[in-house]
């Protein structure tokens, strides 16, 4: 089985548990999900629901206990460190909560870092498009310490996009930002999906952030329990509130 056309990443009956015996904790209990290409998907859930674990497994940052993970046409499950590294370098982009820029590099060098590591040529036209979209044209020569939090996170966004990955994974990208900067980043992610056809998967517990997404998946106790398409912030909030009363049944 391969990820068929139209699917950028796929999880098939993914189980993930930590520890063993009595101390074992199950983070994911048979999650299956298809993440469509060119869509902005948000994964929501209370803390401990397994949303970050799901993202880590999808991105090849963590291995699964059983089940299969696919990104693009590549089966992630079973890849060794070298394969995983190349997957992350070539097919996946990351945006972290804590910006995670290299302090020794300029904004421009940070953006092109994944390409430089892989020894790839920079697509100058695409680079310009990305830089202009995130509005960093006049900040390219600055070091991270000379940038505001919002600007730093926009550098991180540009870095994730510049290599045209199959999927961009964003882990609470607005968690450390004020609402104004957060809105800018979210707006940018939304535009990337709509205008450039970039697949984006975002983990968040912020209903407002999730409302920017085309599709919101709700996780609870390691199961997918609900799903909304293009919801408003209120709908998301409402769903979250009632998540407690939802009995966790495997979503098929």
């Amino acid at each position: 089985m391969s990820a068929s056309d139209g699917v950028a990443a796929r999880a098939v009956d993914v189980w993930k548990s930590y520890g063993s015996g009595d101390a074992a904790v199950t983070a994911l209990a048979g999650v299956s999900v298809d993440l469509e290409k060119s869509r902005f998907t948000a994964i929501m859930g209370p803390s401990g629901s397994g949303k970050s674990t799901l993202m880590h497994c999808l991105a090849g940052l963590d291995d699964v206990t059983s089940g299969e993970v696919w990104v693009g046409g590549t089966k992630v499950t079973g890849l060794k460190d070298r394969g995983l590294t190349e997957l992350r370098r070539d097919k996946v982009g990351f945006i972290f909560q804590q910006f995670n820029l290299l302090p020794t590099l300029t904004a421009e060098e940070n953006i092109t870092l994944p390409l430089a590591i892989g020894g790839k040529k920079i697509d100058k036209a695409w680079f310009d498009v990305v830089v202009d979209t995130v509005g960093l044209r006049d900040r390219l020569t600055h070091r991270p310490t000379q940038l505001s939090g919002g600007q730093q996170q926009r550098v991180a966004c540009a870095r994730a996009l510049v290599s045209r990955p199959d999927v961009v994974f964003a882990d609470e990208p607005t968690g450390n930002l004020d609402s104004q900067s957060g809105a800018e980043v979210l707006g940018f992610l939304q535009r990337s999906a709509r205008e450039f056809g970039q697949t984006i998967v975002m983990v968040t517990h912020d209903a407002n952030a999730a409302s920017y997404a085309d599709r919101v998946i709700f996780l609870k106790d390691g199961h997918i329990v609900r799903e909304l398409l293009s919801p408003s912030a209120d709908e998301v909030l409402d769903t979250m509130k009632h998540l407690d009363s939802v009995v966790a049944v495997p979503h098929v």
Binding site: H56, L61, D62, D81, R82, T85, E86, R88, R89, D90, G93, F94, F96, Q98, N100, L102, P103, T104, L105, L113, P114, A116, I117, G118, G119, R159
Partner: protein, 839 residues
Amino acid sequence: MFKATIKSLLSRKLRLVLSALAVVLGVMFVSGSFVLTDTLQRSFTDLFSSAFANVDVSVTPKAEKGKQPEPLAPQTIADVKAVPGVASAVGDVQGSARPIGKNGKVITTSGSPRFGFNWTGTGDEKIRDGKAPVADNEVVIGGFLATTGGFKVGDDIALLTLEPKKTFKVAGIYEYAGGRDSLGGELSVAFTEPVAQQLLLGKKDVYSGVTVKAAQGTSDDALRDAVAAKLGSGYDVKTGATLAKEQADQINEGLKFFNYVLLGFAGIALFVGIFIILNTFSIIVAQRTRELALLRSMGASRGQVIGSVVLEALVIGLIASIVGLAAGVGIGALLAKIFSSVGGTSLQLAGIGVPMSAVISSFAVGMIVTVVAAVMPALRASRIAPVAAMREAATPDRPLTKITITGALVAAAGGTALAFGFNQASLPLIFGGILVAFVGVALLTPILSKPMVSLIGRLLSWSMPGLLGRRNSARNPRRTAITAAALMVGISLITGVSVVLTSATKSIEKLASGQLQTDLIISGEGQMEGQPATFGRDVLTKVEKTDGVKSAFGWSQDGVLQGEDQLFAVAVTDVSALKEMFALKPKSGDIKPLRDDQVGLPEDLATEKNWTVGSTITLQLAKGEPRTYTVAFVWSKSQVLQGAMVLPESSSKDFRSDQIGQAFAQVTPGANVADVQKRVEPLFADNPEITVQDRSGFVKQTTSQFDTVLLMIQILLALAILIAVLGVINTLALSVIERTRELGLLRAIGMRRAQVMRMITVESVVISVFGAVLGLAVGLALGVATVQALKDQGISELGLPWATMAQYLVVAAFVGVVAAILPAIRAARLNVLDAIAYE
């Protein structure tokens, strides 16, 4: 607070081990030196007390100042015998005797004496095989000589004494109490008394001393006093115990010096250790800024914060001192074992002990060094406002102005002290100046590190990991600088010594090609005991008559006493030949053959003593009455024969040895030097200690000892460099911990493990090469300054050891690669998810 400190210490085991290791190595060197010299001292004391166990009282002729003692007449023995309380008095004959091995080469020892004596049958020696010598051509030899040279009873053995090679029959082999082959690795041989007197003392019927045994009921001291009273002045009368102590003291004096040398190098290692510990504590404190700020915000005082860091240093220092002391005892014992067995010295080792000096110095040095290095970072940590520290973990770059100005001042002070030191020839000032200059340069390194690291880094950063590594090394100039400065110390010392030795070699080469107009140089190997090997005047005459030799001259050499001053003199066979071959130019007077009461002087000696042509000088030679000479000529400053006065040939009769010590020959124009050398060499067949060399061979032989010196210094400085390498590892390891999140990010966005390792390696190589470049520059400056200062002492040329310096640079780069291995593996193995989440 105490509990918090200990908890925090234990949670950082790796850092603890790394920073303690530098102290452990330094302390190990210090205590090892003490243990080694202490063990050797006690071993030598044991050796001499057993060597003199059989001597109750010994009588030797007293030497007048500057004179060689006259041997004793048989009457003296008779006089001693007549003293009441004497059980026996036996005349001793002793002198230098060097055995020739079966391969025709003289058998050497590594410092133990080679001597011959008269077989009396009353000494400590007991015949093990064969019989005592009876005939004039018979000898008995020590067990150690028998094993070393492979001699058996009935074999022939050739010996060099005051006379050239003579062959004897081995009549027997003797041993000492307990079946020992020797007392301390000495090679000894015993002749019949008349032969011993002729060969060892050069005269019939004389003795070098009397061994007296006390009768029952007479104490050694009482016997000594009775004998001394009977003989009157003119004799040294000592008990065996005193003699043993005197000889042991003499050796121990040498060992003390040896100990100082070792401690000097230990000091350098510890000096480097201070840099490492200072750096480690700086980094640890920087990383603990948040923790310390939390303590501060909870009400801990500044003093408590400082106390906590200093306490941490004390604990590390204490543990490191204990481990270092233990390791030092092990190393000292091991070295003593090696020392006692090397070259067949077979010194009977006394038990390994731990002298108090080793314990005290270990703890003092270990604790003081650690605490001194920790106080500065502690002070800095205590100054950070708690809120600022908790908000931002990373401390911002502090400006380098203050440290740079301080560094320039300290370096200038060190340079001045050094200049004064050279000027006054004061070693403490020179060494102190060098150390202070090192501190100054170390303080200047942060400002230098910016341009230099970027320059060195550019050569290595052709790829992204390389670029990142280079940027990382430029990230914290202080940290990079101190790490590099530690490496600088060792490399600059080696470079400095290397510059001096290269210059010395070049000067000798220049001398040989310029001023030395001789084609062949005939000289004896310098012996450990007594004077260098000599040869007879008849052989020199044969050299002069050899086909192809145009002219030849030789000299006897000895120390002479002028008033209270010990001067060096050569009695030259042919002053004209000397003048020509050494290219001497007259300053005043004519350089021509001397009459028996004339002397020639070098310019510096004449100036120093205020002597001019016509002055009269009274000299006491080794024998005879003082002689008065008139200055006949003074020659202009020359690199050869420095400080030596030239005496007429006839004066050598009163030298300790009348034989020729060194000779020089010129070949006739057109003759092939190598051919003439081949014809001259056979003349010395009976003098295997004499070598005939052409000029380049002589230069090579003279300069080859420099290589040995350089090698020794390199070995002794290796520890300082090893500690510096530990410093590089330490800095990298701590940086890797500090940058865990960055490493996680790099791995998350697709950096391969190999690339991570390359990044760390580049950083390491940049730091090491930076340290090496600094070291080469400082070493070059030190070396050139020393050569300038020694200009008048014969180092006239400046030679720069480019090849050696290039080697050090390559070694430094290699060291960088090696130092990076462990931190790089650690960085590459980081779990990506954990690393990103790392606080």
